[in-house]
């Protein structure tokens, strides 16, 4: 298939490397070096999308990131679907499959267009707010319909086969943009020995120099670009990142760069190569050399395919060897607009006319056009375009000197392409990201970066500086300033001599007048992607929206994936005129990250799938896995939840595990409990201040349960601490609370009591904790130790240093089950060995592994709380019936003392923790169920508490529960009711939370 718009020679494409690609199901040819957009244009394809609101056919307008229409769907398979790809930025590769995203059944024959044309009248700005918001309950339905009709592409339904990368970078100077300014800056800082990153969104460096035929030192500009690039590549500390969009500029010069590593190679990345990389850069200084986007003029039907910005026409001709039409009309307010006519003419195609809004334009490009015999119509503008799927002609009329009115008659010209130039808008997006408000500059008719708190420099087009010679100099100067700022000595850089093209002054004009008033003229588009017209903006202003931020939100201007790169300034100008203000008075909206859309994959990097979040394992984890444990997440830990045997359901497994502990012996992997080693002569005093109970008299060799409260007196953690030596304690915490408790101790030590001599160190990971519990646990332990572990020598709440299974161990005789229990702590490297030895010796006692769920049941039978389950930050020790764990005899205060004595904490009728026994012993109350005293009370019933823990107790043969009841400790024996969502009501009796062995005889044998 031929490429009707392809030139025989010229451009930066490689005609010896033809590529085949698919667009909307048809195969086409392009060349290595093409973008998808240039290849589409080369093949004479006009329509690439249907517009968002009106379903109008749209063609390619621009050649870079600012493209609003050619937003395509890529992907040869379901898994490789990529939405939101700007065809102007997607390099062509062999086998590329692309699809227009809106338009049904396809963009060329869109059945929606009829609806669109009718609906268009029905869809003024604010349409969604006015129509779809009510009733609110239907918004989700509306939204999906709108989305489908709008067609913004779709995400894949299958997993992405590629992997993505995040990488951290540091540099002295990050230079954004590798056009003439960026290259000059980079060369300057690189030669000075700085650490440099130079990033550019295009596949090769050079920026706008790639799109022109201009010379530097009399040579094609590419020669200078190549030489600079080669030199930069030779420095070890210079990182060159082509195909890398600096998409976010954040506080403290933290900058994110989205590098597309293999998007230009194939549908799926080559094996072991990341598809995209997100660079997270910490730069000492940033040089923004981001250039400018050409601004189209706003005239009627300016969205008909064939209407393009002038510079894009030059780019397609000069860079890609593609002339995107046959007969060109240029409509411009400035000299630069003539360049596309010159390039078009030189490519051998017909320039119908250049229409200049200025009455007497003077400049070298104008002269060059005259010399070529190009017709120039001055004091005029293209006020309207004819055509539907392609421009067929234009209406030209003379306009007033202020550009506000049509003054003469209309002349029609035949043409298939309109190149438009309304001047340039500096690319100030990144400087806006950090909150800097742009400033209007009358001289360049555009916004430039405002004051910034960042260590940021700017050079070239972003400052409204457009002549190559001046741009190079700004780059050099920014480079020198950056070098000085990072404390280096500048090396010499000699800039090449650029062509000096004399230009006349541009005319400040955005919105071209029509014979009819704006509201009645054919649509004059401001924002192509969101279908915002000049009439729409005027309407918004008439409806009372005066702030540009409100106009933006009401009309959706700049809301597209292009963030209004082409249209925003025009929109502000239209609004300013409608509000009778100047543009600086109207102000501008600002841009947010990201500059262009970025894939979720690049943001996630490797933090997905198995690596989404760390999973923490104990030293015995593999044993649990092999034993078929079900796991429960406790913080990041994977803890065995229960160990089902073949054919068992969860409850059967729990019943078996509970009975094993009560009747013989079970084993729990308690290694995840937080463990903090505390040393220093004031360790004991510190414990006394941080726990609510007393620690002054705990002897070496003894353990004690402790309750920890916040300043508000509310319980936040608990655990057993042991006195290892006179100056040495081991504190245990809950699994989930370990890090927080250590920080809590450090906080109090460092800020409140730095005079206390004490050090804290985490030893959570260091010790494996193997808890054997049950009447046979002593017998089991005796099998593996020679030490005397009799009750006489090793009593309840003692700890001993003994050898277990050949491994030195600290064994704590404490109990969370109410049974005789030994918590065996060994250095974690030996945990698995001891665990396995216990099972070897434990077979005769039916040693049964149990998990967290069984642990919860066993402790609930004993009425022991779990901090975080039976507490929620609003209960103090007395609410829990644990006043025995509060000592007010301490010479120094303790954390929470004042808090728990606040008026609200000592009032009557606070919610208190009690046991709850259902009248029907078989019924287990759902946790969270709300308690009421009168189940027949009208809704909303007065609620008096809720259930925090509730289980079936196989040992007791009935259900057990703990929960809060207002004034519960004084209501023993009274009846409460738990109405459930299904309408049933559970009747229960308030009782002691200690269901088993209230005297504690079982653990004390």
């Amino acid at each position: 298939m031929t490429q009707p718009n392809r030139l025989q020679s010229g451009g930066r494409i490689d005609r010896s490397k033809p590529l085949t690609f698919t667009y909307n199901g048809k195969q086409y040819k392009g060349y290595q070096g093409d973008t998808l957009a240039s290849a589409i244009l080369a093949n004479g394809i006009d329509v690439v999308s249907r517009s968002f609101k009106y379903s109008r056919p749209r063609g390619i307008v621009a050649a870079g990131a600012e493209e609003p229409n050619a937003i395509l769907q890529l992907g040869a398979s379901e898994a490789t679907q990529v939405p939101n790809v700007r065809a102007t930025q997607q390099e062509l590769f062999n086998g590329l499959v692309s699809q227009a995203t809106n338009g049904w059944p396809n963009v060329d024959t869109d059945v929606m267009s009829i609806i669109g044309k009718v609906g268009g009248k029905m869809m003024p700005p604010g349409f969604y707010y006015k129509t779809f918001m009510f009733p609110e309950s239907l918004w989700n339905t509306y939204e999906s319909l709108i989305r489908k009709a709008a067609g913004m592409g779709r995400s894949p339904l299958e997993n992405d086969p590629d992997f993505y990368d995040n990488v951290n970078q540091h540099c002295d100077v990050l230079i954004v943009g590798a056009g003439p300014a960026g290259l000059a800056a980079a060369l300057t800082v690189a030669r000075s020995g700085a650490r440099v990153i130079l990033a550019d969104e295009q596949n090769e460096f050079g920026g706008n120099l790639l799109s022109t035929k201009e010379t530097l030192d009399g040579q094609p500009a590419s020669a200078w670009v190549n030489a600079v690039t080669k030199e930069l590549r030779s420095y070890d500390d210079v990182m060159l990142l082509p195909r890398s969009t600096v998409n976010g500029y954040h506080d403290h010069n933290f900058v994110t760069i989205h590098e597309r590593c293999t998007d230009h190679l194939s549908d799926i990345a080559p094996v072991n190569q990341a598809r995209q990389r997100l660079h997270r850069v910490r730069a000492k200084w940033v040089v923004l050399a981001t250039g400018a986007h050409e601004r189209p003029l706003v005239y009627s039907n300016n969205d008909v395919p064939g209407c393009m910005v002038s510079g894009a026409v030059s780019t397609y001709i000069n860079r890609y060897g593609v002339v995107p039409g046959n007969a060109l009309v240029v409509t411009t307010t400035n000299d630069y607009g003539y360049q596309s006519a010159l390039d078009w003419h030189d490519a051998g195609r017909k320039v119908v006319a250049v229409v200049d809004t200025r009455a007497n334009p003077v400049g070298e490009r104008i002269e060059a056009a005259r010399q070529r015999g190009i017709k120039i119509i001055t004091g005029s503008a293209v006020i309207e375009v004819q055509g539907s799927k392609r421009v067929s002609g234009v209406s030209v009329a003379t306009i007033s000197a202020d550009g506000n009115k049509v003054t003469g008659s209309v002349t029609k010209l035949g043409a298939d392409t309109v190149a438009t130039s309304g001047g340039w808008s500096p690319v100030i997006h990144l400087s806006s990201h950090t909150g800097s408000r742009p400033i209007w500059n009358d001289e360049i008719v555009g916004f430039v970066p405002g004051k910034t708190v960042q260590k940021q420099l700017t050079a070239g087009g972003i400052n409204g500086c457009y002549h190559t010679g001046a741009v190079l100099l700004e780059g050099l100067n920014a480079g020198l300033e950056a070098v000085a700022n990072v404390g280096l000595n500048a090396a010499e850089v000699v800039l090449p001599t650029a062509e000096d093209v004399k230009e006349g002054a541009p005319m400040t004009l955005f919105h071209i007048p029509h014979l009819k008033p704006t509201s009645q003229a054919p649509k004059q588009f401001v924002d192509y992607q969101t279908d915002v017209t000049a009439a729409g903006i005027e309407l918004a202003c008439r409806e009372g929206f005066e702030s540009i931020e409100h106009v933006k939100r009401y009309t959706a201007m700049g809301f597209g994936t292009d963030q209004g790169k082409l249209g925003n300034i025009n929109g502000m100008a239209v609004a300013a005129k409608a509000l009778n203000k100047t543009i600086p008075e109207t102000g501008t909206t600002i841009f947010r990250p990201n500059y262009t859309p970025i894939s979720f994959g690049a943001i996630a990097g490797r933090n997905c799938g198995a690596l989404f979040d760390p999973k923490r394992y104990s030293a015995m984890h593999m044993w649990h896995v092999e034993r078929g444990a079900k796991f429960e997440d406790v913080g990041q830990w994977k803890r065995p939840w229960y160990f089902p045997q073949a054919g068992e359901n969860m409850q059967q497994s729990l019943d078996r595990e509970c009975l094993a502990v009560r009747q013989s012996v079970g084993i729990l992997d308690a290694s995840t409990l937080g463990k903090i080693d505390i040393q220093g002569k004031d360790a004991r005093e510190f414990l006394g201040r941080i726990y609510s109970n007393a620690w002054a008299k705990l002897a070496v060799g003894k353990c004690r349960y402790g309750l920890m409260c916040g300043e508000d007196g509310m319980v936040f953690d608990d655990g057993v601490s042991a006195c290892l030596g006179e100056n040495h304690f081991l504190m245990t915490t809950t699994t989930g609370g370990a890090a927080r408790v250590l920080e809590w101790l450090e906080l109090y030590h460092q800020t409140e009591w730095p005079e206390l001599e004490v050090y804290f160190n985490t030893v959570t990971d260091h010790w494996s904790t193997l808890t054997i519990s049950g009447p046979n646990s002593r017998k089991l332990l005796s099998e593996l130790t020679d030490a005397d572990v009799t009750n006489e020598n090793f009593s309840f709440m003692d700890w001993k240093q003994i050898t277990v299974a050949g491994v030195p161990a600290r064994v704590f005789r404490i109990s969370f089950t109410g049974e005789l229990t030994f918590e065996i702590n060994v250095q974690a490297n030996y945990g698995m060995h001891v665990w396995k030895q216990l099972f070897k010796a434990g077979a005769q006692y039916n040693l049964t592994p149990y998990g967290t769920e069984t642990m919860h049941i066993l402790r609930a039978e004993k009425g022991f709380i779990i901090a975080g389950q039976d507490t929620d930050g609003s209960v103090h020790p007395f609410d829990l019936g644990m006043g025995w764990c509060v000592s007010n005899q301490k010479p120094f205060s303790y954390v929470g003392k004042r808090g728990m004595n606040r008026q609200d904490c000592i009032r009557e009728n606070r919610k208190q923790l009690v046991g709850i026994k259902t009248k029907d012993p078989k019924v287990v109350i759902p946790e969270g169920a709300q308690a009421v005293l009168d189940p027949k009370a009208p809704i909303p019933m007065p609620m008096v508490g809720h259930v925090t823990s509730s289980y079936w107790s196989a040992h007791l043969g009935h259900s057990i529960a703990m929960g809060f009841i207002k004034g519960g400790l004084t209501k023993m024996g009274e009846t409460v009711y738990y109405p459930l969502a299904d309408g049933t009501v559970i009747e229960a009796e308030i009782c002691s939370p200690i269901f088993l062995d209230p005297k504690g005889e079982r653990q004390n044998v």
Binding site: D165, N761, T762, Q827, Y830, G831
Partner: protein, 227 residues
């Protein structure tokens, strides 16, 4: 010192802190936190994970003695005592480390050092500290809580840039520098031990995550496990 395993609480109290030899006899094999990954077999097979270039080499230094020492760096008596035990002065310059024979000492914070010694020497070193040093300090054996990975190879800096936000440029992170910092979504103590060689001290419970992470981020470079 007397055999800690037969000390009475009273005797132990006299020592102020409870010190015990936590390592069993040679008949009991310890398991590093990466025991389940069987790095030895991978090393033997010479498997390259990811890209064939094999630009990253990984070696585990397992079952070492890890001791965390905390003391006041202005206490010259304690500094002298530490030097007598270790044969080298504690590094006082932030983020630096020293090595002496098989001992290495990392500055962790203004009053904290991580000392690595051969696994069987931990108790001996601990005991000598207790004998030599007076005053307020703490010494904690954390040998079971961590393991050490050595990463080396041409691409090792590129690899680490994918794991930590720390600047690893040789002018900023020279040989001997040590930091305790973010590592993927976990943490690591990172020390540069050579131009292209780094040591990571990682926590036991996170070590499987870090091992999986290192395999994943090595894909572009290739990972070879060394014995």
């Amino acid at each position: 010192m007397s055999d800690m395993n037969v000390m009475t609480p009273a005797e132990m109290a006299a020592t102020k802190a409870a010190v015990m030899d936590q390592v069993p006899g040679p008949e009991v094999q310890g398991q590093s936190p990466l025991h389940h990954a069987d790095l030895a077999s991978l090393a033997k097979a010479g498997t390259v994970l990811g890209a064939a270039a094999g630009g990253i080499q990984l070696r585990e230094h397992k079952l070492l003695g890890h001791l965390t020492l905390r003391l006041n760096p202005e206490n010259t008596d304690q500094l002298a005592a530490a030097e007598r035990v270790l044969g080298v002065a504690l590094p006082l310059q932030p983020l630096t480390s020293v090595e002496k024979g098989s001992y290495s000492v990392r500055w962790m914070s203004p009053d904290e050092w991580l000392i690595l010694v051969p696994g069987l020497e931990a108790f001996d070193v601990e005991s000598r500290f207790r004998d030599e040093m007076g005053g307020h300090y703490s010494l904690v054996n954390s040998s079971g809580g961590s393991t050490v990975l050595e990463l080396s190879g041409a691409d090792v800096v590129e690899l680490l840039k994918r794991c930590t936000p720390i600047d690893l440029h040789p002018t900023v992170f020279p040989v001997g520098k040590v930091v305790s910092t973010v590592f993927a979504k976990s943490s690591a103590i990172i020390r540069r031990t050579g131009e292209q060689r780094f040591e990571l001290v990682i926590r036991r419970s996170f070590s499987d995550y870090i091992w999986l992470w290192l395999q994943e981020v090595s894909r572009e470079f290739g990972l070879v496990v060394k014995a």
